[in-house]
């Protein structure tokens, strides 16, 4: 064991809560790493950060990080986060959610947080299924995929998380994956350092459920799939269509600089209280 623990441990509840609960090879831990590194490189004070989550494997993350941490009800992370951010705008609010959490039961909250441009960074670990409850399909399960509730293959079309939050009004929308982890680090850092509502979709393997049900092999095989089946938006633009077809595009899709809700609200208060004083 190394004498000096890695810097990242500063951000973890390392002594009491590790090893964590996630399965071997689960991608959630890698996303947690990206978040930790982004925060470290931003130099944020741990006291100022609130990590809020819903329910699911991904949503267990707050247990492990040494910030202010809030593990809420299924799908409602953004609503809790909205309240916390409004009550204490100094908090840097980071919502960590699964694909089911954010897009199934929580779908309404994410489009409204996008519309309001609420000053929260939403990090969605998209493992294409409900990991925690044993691998049912989620709104991001690809057509044809097998899950415990699509034994004959998924027949519903899936959401493009990035398209949807973009249409709903989010300030920053990007997709990364846990194989391309340096890229993901950058995306998360970008997202965290902005204002308004920011969405990061991080593709990650769930070998235990999705991987097994779809015979995608172990974690390493699933990482290879991410390596081979995704393509960076810049690269994609250079390549002819047939080379990019069927590949999931990574990269930053929206990077607006619209004024966030918190600032709008502050301005409203300033304006009306000034009017009243007059």
């Amino acid at each position: 064991m190394p004498a000096r623990l890695p810097y990242a441990y500063k951000y973890l509840r390392a002594k009491k809560k590790f090893p964590h609960v996630w399965c071997p090879g689960c991608g959630i831990g890698i996303v947690m790493g990206s978040i930790i590194r982004a925060i470290d490189s931003l130099g944020w004070d741990l006291d100022d950060i609130l990590m809020v989550s819903g329910i699911g494997c991904t949503s267990r993350m707050p247990v492990y990080v040494d910030f202010n941490t809030l593990h809420t009800t299924h799908g409602r992370a953004l609503a809790f986060g909205t309240g916390a951010k409004m009550a204490n705008p100094n908090l840097k609010v980071l919502a960590v959610m699964g694909d089911g959490d954010s897009m199934a039961i929580g779908g309404n909250h994410i489009i409204h947080a996008s519309r309001r441009n609420m000053d929260i960074t939403a990090i969605i670990v998209n493992n294409n299924n409900y990991g925690m409850t044993g691998g049912q399909f989620s709104p991001t399960t690809p057509q044809g995929a097998k899950t415990s509730t699509t034994p004959y293959g998924m027949i519903e079309p899936d959401f493009d998380i990035c398209e949807l939050t973009k249409a709903a009004g989010a300030n920053y929308v990007a997709r990364g994956d846990v194989y391309h982890v340096i890229e993901l680090d950058g995306i998360v850092k970008n997202a965290l350092s902005g204002s308004g509502f920011r969405v990061v979709e991080a593709l990650a393997p769930c070998p235990t459920n999705f991987g097994r049900a779809n015979r995608q092999g172990d974690a390493v095989n699933m990482m290879e799939l991410l390596r081979d089946n995704t393509i960076n938006i810049a690269q994609a633009k250079k390549l002819p269509e047939e080379k990019t077809e069927g590949k999931i595009v990574r990269g930053v899709f929206v990077d607006r600089d619209e004024i966030g809700y918190i600032e709008r609200y502050r301005k409203l208060c300033d304006r009306v209280s000034a009017e009243v004083k007059k």
Binding site: V21, W22, C23, P24, C26, C57, T208
Partner: protein, 204 residues
């Protein structure tokens, strides 16, 4: 059949759910009552796995195990965690591939996983080898009942493999019984160290 509590414990992916279903199916074919419960909860996430089976001739009322007649421990953690639950008159079957520190009491050990890899080229049928040995040692049911139960519980594609593994385990189990009944007392008392000779025999 008298009231018996059996726990099959190990880690996720070792196929203890299937083992429990085979055992229960056998009980059903035997005309007994049976009640199977499983561990759920966070520890089931790729971690620990536990299947409890209660078999009895009378209706089973309280469904949880309290005093085990048999503990099949497929890893060290389960051996440690549950050994205290085993009755004085009960026994252990452990996978010596993973279990170094044997529990105290009457212990049968065998490297199920190693053998599975060795003989079948994959670790996936360690559970059936273990069930075979369990079948022999427990003397709960006749062999045909067990094989019928496997036929009912296992998907066709894997049936042969599973039957072979089961038979291998059963054979080994019978051999142990012969030894017990003959020369060497295999049923060690609690507290007594495990005779080296037997260990070697099993891990050949």
């Amino acid at each position: 059949m008298k009231y018996s509590e059996i726990r099959l414990a190990g880690s996720g992916g070792q196929g203890l759910g299937l083992a429990g279903r085979i055992l229960s199916q056998a009980a059903i074919l035997n005309g007994s009552e049976v009640c199977l419960t499983q561990s759920y909860g966070p520890e089931a996430r790729g971690g620990a796995s536990r299947t409890d089976v209660i078999i009895s001739d009378k209706p089973i009322l309280f469904p949880n195990c309290r005093e085990l007649d048999v503990l099949l421990a497929m890893n060290q953690e389960s051996a440690d965690k549950f050994s205290a639950k085993v009755k004085e008159t009960g026994f252990f079957v452990v996978d010596s591939t993973f279990v170094d520190q044997l529990p105290e009491g009457k212990v049968y050990e065998y490297p199920f996983t190693d053998k599975s890899i060795e003989v079948f080229g994959q670790k996936i049928v360690a559970n059936l080898i273990a069930m075979g040995m369990f079948a022999a040692l427990s003397k709960f049911f006749k062999l045909e009942i067990w094989t019928d139960a496997i036929r009912l519980a296992v998907p066709k594609a894997f049936l042969d493999l599973n039957l072979q593994a089961f038979e291998m385990g059963h054979r080994e189990g019978r051999e142990i019984l012969h030894m017990e009944e003959g020369r060497i007392p295999v049923a060690w008392d609690r507290k007594q160290p495990v005779p080296k000779a037997i260990r070697d025999k099993f891990s050949r």
